[in-house]
């Protein structure tokens, strides 16, 4: 196993409200090795984006980290001061957001934005920074970067803008990129271009990626390992191949089979009944129990820890040895 870059232990993200604390991320633990792509999938509201925001220290108040540890390259970063976090953000950990139009400043030429980012993180004079910016634009596949560097964001198409955003993220030469739905706003054809770009750039540099998306196809193509999140918790985590071919948690099983297939005729899609519980109304025990087909007694009492099954870890009592024996009888 290669070196661990990011380690998250029992991370809790909570929102204080008038009616008490709401836990949006509930004791999430995972690791990312150097150069690895970890995909995180889940429905909206599952807490995937909040996990990403917590790591990079961009939780919007009143949201806050309510417990747990985030260890990046051997250093705890969840309790750093704003100043210390700022030196880390962009330089060691970068972020790519969903909407490329809102992550670029419409009033500045893209060159100015790139040069600003480069000079913040690396000591370069204006000329060097400009050369570096042109190199970066070239690397992300923008044609004629020498002239395009002086264009404004609105002069680029959606796909090209997302390339610029990737160039911005790479500017500080980070070790980890958190990509929050990087392709959701793009067309399928452009999506394929962006994904293969992200993949090849990170392979070259050995950058790790935490890829947050609800698009299973993107994960299947890109990620080495993936985690399925449900109502703030990890339901299953493991190698992408195993998880997609052979999901174990009843929720992952439902999720995989609810995707319409390109090949073959299916009369009806498999659907998971109901919807994800609201944060103020999470059922006792396993939070998936009201929607689960295979629900049995322990599910109502206590939430299952992550149990190792083959190459994956699954938070489901079905795989607990003791209950397996009880059920077999």
């Amino acid at each position: 196993m290669s070196e661990i870059l990011l380690k998250i232990k029992d991370l809790i993200v909570e929102f204080p409200t008038r009616r008490g604390l709401l836990r949006a991320v509930d004791k999430v633990s995972f690791e990312i090795s150097k150069g690895e792509v970890l995909g995180i999938v889940g429905e909206s509201g599952a807490g995937k984006s909040l996990t990403g925001a917590a790591i990079i220290g961009l939780l919007e108040p009143p949201g806050r980290i309510g417990g747990g540890e985030i260890i990046f390259d051997g250093q705890r970063i969840d309790n750093l001061s704003d100043e210390e976090m700022r030196s880390l953000r962009g330089k060691r950990i970068a972020m790519i957001f969903q909407d490329p139009l809102t992550s670029l400043n419409p009033l500045y030429r893209i060159g100015e934005q790139l040069i600003e980012t480069i000079q913040t993180h690396l000591s370069m004079d204006n000329k060097q920074a400009r050369t570096r910016a042109i190199e970066l634009l070239d690397e992300v596949g923008i044609p004629a970067p020498e002239t395009r560097i002086d264009a404004y964001p609105h002069q680029f198409s959606g796909g090209m803008r997302q390339r610029v955003v990737i160039a911005l993220a790479l500017a500080g030469e980070p070790d980890l990129i958190i990509a929050d739905e990087p392709t959701t706003a793009l067309d399928v054809s452009v999506q394929a271009q962006i994904i293969s770009l992200l993949k090849s750039l990170c392979k070259e540099r050995g950058t790790a990626i935490m890829l947050i998306t609800h698009d299973m196809g993107v994960i299947a193509e890109t990620a080495d390992r993936m985690a399925v999140m449900y109502s703030g918790q990890i339901a299953e985590i493991g190698k992408t191949y195993d998880l997609i071919r052979n999901p174990k948690h009843p929720y992952s099983v439902g999720l995989m089979s609810s995707i319409p297939a390109i090949k073959g005729d299916v009369k009806r899609l498999v659907q998971i009944p109901g919807s994800m519980p609201r944060l103020n109304n999470i059922p006792k025990g396993c939070s998936f129990n009201p929607r689960c087909e295979k629900v049995f007694e322990p599910c109502y009492v206590k939430r299952s820890p992550l149990i190792e099954v083959g190459n994956s870890s699954v938070a489901c009592w079905l795989y607990d040895e003791e209950y397996k024996r009880v059920k077999a009888k």
């Binding site: 429905e43 909206s44 198409s157 399928v188 452009v190 394929a192 319409p260 659907q271």
Partner: protein, 339 residues
């Protein structure tokens, strides 16, 4: 394959054009000596939709699919061409009475369930609106009963009628939109990116619901989506659009198993591989060009690997065969698709 000949054509779209004037204001044009700029969003589109079938339009953003949808329901007047639904031409002003009745039979469901419901109205008022405006029920009591029936039909509780839209999740809101669309007893529903704002698991619920409703009320759908797997699941026939023109129409199975137009092939190649067979997807080269200044000849030629001199100069005409329509010089000449 089913014979399509016995079926009645419900929607007949002929040579539809839609231009948008995107030029600068008059004075700016004079001062800056610029010419008018015309954007051709839809260019010579002809489609037949049979009763009871689901016809899907796919394409990248900017290909004109939503503009076609808006013209079909009458939200935008076409620049040229005709739309006939149930034998009545939408632009025929002499048939005002028939047109009014016809409008109650056409409904549209929009992409964003957050923007298409009035946040200040209770759900019951939202769903009752088509019933009231077309005067489909006589008294208040009958309207309330009808709303309750519609809510149950789409899988919500009749008591949900008292709530406001913000109290619902995205999937539930889309159910409310569906209930509203069904309220005027339509024959034909246009769904513009019905599930693209929803999660996969919710999407499965909504797609199943739409199929059930189609069977129950023998509805005809025009389904607009950029998600090919959704289209494959829902549609009987598919039209692929590129830069305002239809490049290929074929029935769903043939299109996915044996795409003919190079653009359709590219689109299918770009679908993420969920089977994890390890094969890399071939990203499509380039992006959709600016529709204000489209390429000459076949609009797809700058991205097409098979383009030759003729493609650069001459606009291809649709070639019809019994089940499909293809607009491509290469296919016509036999250069493409004969391997």
């Amino acid at each position: 394959m089913k014979k399509r000949t016995q079926k009645r054509t419900l929607v007949k779209i002929r040579n539809l054009d839609r231009l948008f004037d995107v030029s600068k204001p008059f004075l700016n044009r004079i001062i800056e000596r610029e010419e008018r700029k015309i954007l051709r969003a839809v260019d010579d589109v002809s489609i037949d939709i049979d009763e009871g079938e689901t016809f899907a339009l796919v394409g990248e953003s900017g290909s004109g699919k939503s503009t076609v949808a808006k013209m079909v329901v009458g939200l935008l007047p076409p620049t040229k061409g005709s739309i006939e639904i149930d034998g009545i031409d939408l632009s025929d002003k002499s048939k005002i009475k028939e047109l009014r009745k016809l409008r109650s039979e056409i409904q549209m469901i929009f992409q964003d369930p957050f923007a298409s419901l009035n946040p200040r109205w209770r759900v019951e008022k939202i769903i009752a609106e088509p019933i009231r405006s077309f005067a489909l029920e006589k008294n208040e009591k009958a309207i309330i009963a009808k709303v309750a029936e519609l809510l149950t039909l789409v899988g919500l509780d009749p008591s949900d009628g008292r709530k406001f839209p913000h109290e619902f999740s995205g999937g539930q809101r889309q159910r409310i939109c569906i209930a509203r669309a069904l309220a005027s007893k339509p024959k034909f529903i246009v769904c513009d990116e019905l599930t693209s704002a929803l999660d996969v698991s919710v999407q499965a619920q909504i797609l199943n619901l739409m199929k059930d409703l189609q069977d129950e009320f023998s509805l005809t759908f025009l389904f607009i989506s950029h998600d090919l797997s959704v289209v494959r699941h829902m549609a009987n026939r598919i039209g692929v659009m590129y830069l305002g023109r239809i490049v290929e129409i074929s029935n769903s199975k043939d299109l996915f198993e044996n795409p003919k137009h190079p653009y359709t092939k590219m689109l299918l190649d770009a679908i993420p591989d969920l089977e994890m067979s390890g094969k890399d997807r071939n990203p499509i080269e380039g992006e959709i060009p600016n529709p204000i200044d489209p390429p000459k000849g076949c609009t797809f030629h700058p991205r097409c690997p098979f383009a030759n001199e003729r493609c650069r100069k001459e606009i291809p005409m649709p070639i019809k065969s019994d089940s499909s329509i293809i607009t491509c010089h290469g296919v016509e000449e036999g250069r493409i698709g004969k391997e």
